[in-house]
């Protein structure tokens, strides 16, 4: 072997330069993602008011959360579960079905439709809050009220955003509306890249219609995209939960639209009970983790 080749072989085999290239990203990742997650876990076992040094309290925060926090058990947890199931899981199924439909269209309309469906996920924060505040204005000048009164569905305007019956459904609708994000695009790309020879082969093997085709051919051959999309969907759903306090304040009226992210903000930045807020954060991270493990079971490589 020539000396040049050995040197090349060595560089392909083991290369310390890798650390140099990873370092800048890794440092910022550790500082602002990894360290905060670890700190959240540690703080969740303490009593911490942001001024004095945290004092260790064991599992007290978790015990309080389960036994003493009526708001959490009565409103926040049920709201969050409902929201996560409908916006996370329901939104995921919807994203798949829409992407599947789009993949059966020609390129022009498909691109335009995909752009329109994706655009709500770009309206974060301000644009979203303004838009929906106007739509759901509580008097007859509100768009929804005006339309509903026009078609005779209601006789007098409904004060949507302070009505405890409507707040959670409104937040769920907004969540679904804005849930065609990165996950949706990933599914669409996956669908467009399924090898068409598979469909022909499956037809010969006895697949009779598009539904069977979807279950037996399409989904199994794009599992990696399905998994990526599932993770993006659930994370997006929780991030978007902040909309409820942008619309109705924190706490939301009668805690009707209170989700777990709003509960964290309430305890952390309004009451400054940071140890307790950290415990709630850990619960949130666990919920996301549970959803992801289920997705990995469904779409992971190990079958």
């Amino acid at each position: 072997m020539s000396p040049v080749k050995t040197k090349v072989g060595q560089r392909m085999h083991s290369n310390k330069n890798g650390y140099v290239f990873v370092a800048p990203y890794a440092i910022l990742f550790i500082l602002f993602i990894l360290a905060p997650v670890i700190m959240a876990v540690v703080l969740s076992f303490t009593n911490f008011n942001a001024i004095q040094w945290p004092s260790f309290v064991g599992f007290l925060n978790y015990i309080n959360l389960i036994t003493g926090d009526d708001v959490f058990m009565k409103y926040v947890l049920p709201n969050t579960v409902k929201y996560a199931l409908i916006v996370g899981v329901g939104g995921y199924v919807l994203a798949f079905l829409l992407a599947w439909g789009l993949s059966n269209l020609t390129k022009g309309p498909r691109t335009v439709f995909a752009l329109i469906l994706y655009s709500p996920s770009m309206t974060t924060g301000v644009a979203m809050a303004v838009l929906w505040k106007i739509m759901f204005t509580g008097d007859q000048t509100g768009y929804l009220n005006s339309w509903l009164m026009d078609i005779g569905a209601i006789n007098e305007p409904i004060i949507w955003l302070t009505n405890t019956n409507f707040l959670l459904p409104i937040i769920i609708i907004i969540g679904l509306w804005s849930s065609m994000g990165v996950g949706f695009l990933s599914i669409l790309a996956g669908l467009l890249n399924v090898d068409e020879a598979l469909y022909e082969a499956a037809a010969i093997d006895g697949v009779k219609n598009r539904f069977q085709e979807m279950i037996y051919v399409t989904i199994p051959s794009m599992k990696p995209q399905m998994l990526f999309a599932a993770v993006m969907q659930i994370v997006g759903a929780f991030q978007n939960g902040m909309i409820s306090t942008l619309l109705a304040g924190n706490p939301t009226p009668g805690y009707a639209g209170q989700l777990i992210v709003n509960h964290i903000e309430d305890y952390g930045f309004i009451r400054y009970e940071m140890g307790y807020a950290a415990a709630v954060s850990v619960v949130l991270l666990l919920i996301v983790q549970i959803f992801s493990s289920v997705s990995t079971k469904l779409f992971g490589d190990n079958d």
């Binding site: 330069n17 905060p36 059966n104 068409e196």
Partner: protein, 292 residues
């Protein structure tokens, strides 16, 4: 009965069988798109149309009044709107550039350079896809505080640079670059940074474009950093300022609603334009987005 022949995705031309799909999808597209169209119309409505009864969806006499009022409102607040615009453009540019530079470097290393710990690093980043940043806003604040970054631009820049989904997508794309290209470059005596610049970067442009969109959206509309890490009004972002406009002046007040509508359009439009320009790259990148 004719045997089922298997359908075709991505058809070249319109066929009758697509009508059913149009019928199913069009209502969803309309429902999704109407609020977006509304944001655009609303920003250009003159006062009497903003408060017309019954409310009007379509703008009949478009005007720039709302944008003028927006600028006026900021003049009376002491800090000119141009300062917020500058802050946001500066912060966004630095974060997008930094994030793309660092994540492409890391992606190159994780995909093509073999070193101890690289698999663990990749896995940690993959787990971090699940990271919900609002869950750790308190410890994040403590880190920013400890580093002495409160009330500096750093607090609005550094926490947003590492974006796990950006690195993930770029790395998946670098995986597609054949090893033989890199081997050949080694043979020619190229150094690692030369390979990174001359071989990898030109081949992964679609992934870079996609990561750029994702990072841009995170930064441009970010409220968290200005809200929690910055007390000095002159360092806050445009997104923050727009948000105070829409919350302090309740949208029911006469002046408030027009200003809020203009503000929301200004925040939304850059996202949309950037996505339209780069959308081809996005689909190309997403084809490799799967988690294996």
């Amino acid at each position: 009965m004719a045997a089922y022949r298997g359908h075709r995705t991505n058809p070249d031309k319109f066929e009758k069988s697509q009508i059913k799909i149009y019928l199913l999808i069009l209502p969803m597209v309309l429902l999704t798109g109407l609020p977006i169209v509304f944001i655009i119309f609303h920003a250009f409505k003159p006062m009497e149309e903003l408060f017309a009864f019954p409310p009007k969806f379509i703008t009949t006499n478009p005007t720039l009044d709302n944008f003028r009022k927006l600028i006026k409102a900021s003049r009376s607040a002491g800090i000119p709107i141009s300062k917020y615009v500058f802050n946001s453009i500066f912060i966004t540019a630095v974060v997008v550039f930094g994030s793309l530079l660092f994540s492409t470097m890391a992606a190159y290393a994780l995909s093509k350079l073999k070193f101890k710990g690289r698999n663990v690093m990749m896995q940690i980043n993959q787990i971090a896809l699940m990271f919900v940043s609002v869950a750790v806003m308190i410890p994040r604040y403590l880190v920013v505080n400890k580093l002495g970054m409160i009330d500096t631009y750093w607090a609005e820049i550094l926490p947003l640079i590492a974006l796990p989904v950006g690195l993930f997508l770029v790395k998946q794309f670098v995986d597609q670059v054949p090893d033989s290209l890199i081997e050949a470059a080694y043979m020619d005596g190229a150094k690692e940074w030369q390979i990174y610049l001359k071989v990898i970067i030109p081949l992964i442009k679609p992934a870079i474009a996609t990561a750029a969109i994702l990072v841009f959206q995170q930064v441009w509309t970010n409220l968290e950093t200005s809200n929690y890490y910055i007390n000095d009004d002159s360092l806050k972002s445009l997104a923050f300022y727009m948000n105070t406009l829409t919350s302090t002046t309740t949208t029911n007040t006469v002046a408030g609603q027009g200003v809020a509508a203009a503000a929301s359009l200004i925040m939304f439009l850059p996202n949309l334009i950037l996505f339209c320009i780069l959308q081809k790259n996005v689909m190309n990148t997403m084809a490799h987005s799967g988690i294996k």
